[in-house]
């Protein structure tokens, strides 16, 4: 008869000592309890707010598309215009920056400059950038367009650079061996390898920019966000609900459309 054990337990991988494990678990529990205790919850305010929240939800359940339709329509067109132009301009600027930020293509000084631009663009959140541009250029969609273009650069350039760094080097080596120039290398060895991903990212960014346009509208950068903000300020939750439904609808369409396009492009 075999005398091998019939049970097996995965041995602990990181904290192998039992004392450490128990101490750590107690520590996490204590920290969690203290953290919960430090949250200052005003229960009366929450109960009062629940009523307003219900009004909001009810408005959402009975959306009113008609009474503010011209405002909604105007905001929507503004948002879509802003999204479309900022995505295209942002991508056009991102491509050279993304190439410059790829370590395998760019010399060190160019690399650091481009990575710096990306870091700045990513560090500043859209709402902060929007407040800055609204202060500089006044209320309206132009500030929104600039904000979204700026945010697109950090996003696309970073992911493009990472994709370029991941290309199959042997294909690039083969093109280099033919005596190709740097530009020809980009066009023949790099572009075919990164194009499907770049298109996928661009569609994804379009979708993000549309959603962001609703957020930055609240700080005055125009578009459907401004309309939404006005509706909420006037306690017109039925119109606000209609706006939110339209935003959800457009994001859904963009989502399905882009996944279909990406499949088609592979």
């Amino acid at each position: 008869m075999s005398s091998y054990p019939t049970t097996w337990k995965r041995p602990p991988q990181i904290f192998t000592h039992r004392g450490w494990r128990i101490g750590l678990q107690i520590g996490v529990l204590v920290w969690f309890v203290l953290a919960i205790g430090s949250i200052d919850a005003n229960w009366e305010r929450i109960i009062a707010g629940a009523e307003r929240g219900m009004r909001f939800v009810q408005g959402f359940l009975q959306p009113n598309f008609t009474s503010r339709w011209s405002d909604i329509y105007g905001g929507l067109i503004e948002s879509l215009t802003m999204t479309f132009t900022s995505t295209i301009v942002g991508i056009a600027i991102s491509i050279p920056i993304g190439i410059g930020a790829a370590r395998n293509l760019a010399p060190a000084p160019v690399y650091y400059v481009c990575r710096g631009i990306i870091a700045v663009s990513r560090a500043l959140q859209e709402v902060i950038v929007a407040i800055f541009f609204v202060a500089m250029f006044g209320f309206g969609p132009f500030a929104g367009f600039l904000t979204l273009s700026f945010a697109t650069i950090g996003f696309i350039a970073k992911l493009l650079a990472e994709d370029i760094e991941d290309i199959d080097e042997s294909q690039a080596e083969a093109i280099r061996a033919t005596g190709a120039s740097w530009w020809q290398l980009i066009n023949y060895a790099v572009q075919p390898q990164v194009m499907p991903r770049l298109i996928g990212l661009s569609l994804y960014r379009f979708d993000i920019n549309f959603r962001e346009s609703a957020v930055i509208g609240i700080v005055g950068a125009g578009g459907i966000g401004a309309t939404l903000n006005t509706a909420i300020d006037r306690y017109e939750y039925d119109s606000a609900g209609a706006i939110l439904l339209i935003i959800i609808g457009i994001v859904l369409v963009a989502e399905y459309g882009s996944s279909y396009l990406r499949k088609f492009l592979q």
């Binding site: 083969a174 280099r176 005596g179 530009w183 020809q184 194009m195």
Partner: protein, 273 residues
């Protein structure tokens, strides 16, 4: 004619890949470069077109020293040297035709290559080469739609479209099955004879090298330890190149392969009968 004189390559890590390698390849001669992994075969052929930068020494192609050329001159030198790769190294998402035409990149302007408007002579040559390697019907397919053997044929056509004065071939058959390997080697040899083209072929399959090469250079730890005809490649020499243990293992492997092939052939014959 290619002269390699006292070529040395030391990598930044301190690894000495090549030390004082010298040899000459005459016009039309096909030289096989054999040796164990890490002997410096790959570094050697990449030093010739300077995909790897040599540390010292001279590499003269028809009189021009390739070491120390500036960027522009280096590109003009590279377009005279065709290269064929182990994993084919085709640009997978481009068509077969674009891959073959990419051999002309060193000769055309950026805008010509960008807009794919190559001169008529280049396009004619590309079709002729595709016909030569038996792939003219596949010109408009994407490279990743082809089989391994077909891809390597495209790789050969790309190298030849450069109208090279020298071919560098890096393990052309390492990713192919034995039968396709032999077809590709035969094609390479024929093409070199047709064009009186010198070639350096990295190859780790010793029997294949003995079968096809006119001359064999053996590398061990970055040094030339053998330079002669395939007949001179005796057991003793191979033991020097590969080390006693590895060579015995390789030979046994080869014998087992041969035995397995014979068995398979017998089986096929029996089933056919």
């Amino acid at each position: 004619m290619l002269n390699v004189e006292h070529l040395t390559k030391t990598y930044k890590t301190g690894d000495k890949a090549l030390s004082d390698v010298s040899f000459t390849v005459e016009k039309g001669q096909v030289v096989g470069l054999i040796g164990p992994s890490g002997a410096g075969k790959s570094s050697l052929i990449r030093c010739v077109n300077r995909l790897v930068e040599p540390t010292s020494g001279a590499i003269k192609l028809n009189g021009t020293d390739l070491v120390g050329l500036g960027a522009g001159d280096l590109r003009r030198a590279r377009r005279r040297i065709g290269m064929i790769f182990q994993e084919y190294a085709l640009v997978e998402r481009l068509t077969v035709m674009e891959n073959v035409l990419s051999g002309r990149l060193g000769y055309v302007s950026f805008w010509q290559s960008f807009s794919r408007r190559y001169p008529g002579t280049d396009i004619e040559r590309a079709y002729r080469l595709l016909d030569r390697v038996g792939l003219i019907d596949h010109a408009d397919k994407r490279a990743d739609a082809l089989s391994g053997g077909q891809r390597q044929r495209v790789g050969i056509a790309r190298a030849l479209s450069q109208e090279p004065e020298l071919l560098l071939v890096d393990e052309p058959t390492a990713s192919l099955d034995p039968k396709t390997s032999r077809q590709i080697m035969r094609l390479l040899i024929e093409i070199c004879q047709e064009r009186d083209l010198p070639a350096i072929v990295n190859i780790h399959d010793v029997p294949l090298a003995q079968q096809f090469m006119q001359r064999i250079i053996g590398l061990r730890a970055g040094q030339v330890v053998f330079d002669g005809t395939p007949d001179q490649l005796t057991e003793d020499v191979l033991t020097t190149i590969y080390g006693a243990e590895d060579w015995t293992a390789m030979r046994q492997g080869a014998q087992e392969d041969a035995q397995a092939e014979r068995d398979a052939a017998r089986e096929m014959a029996r089933l056919g009968a």
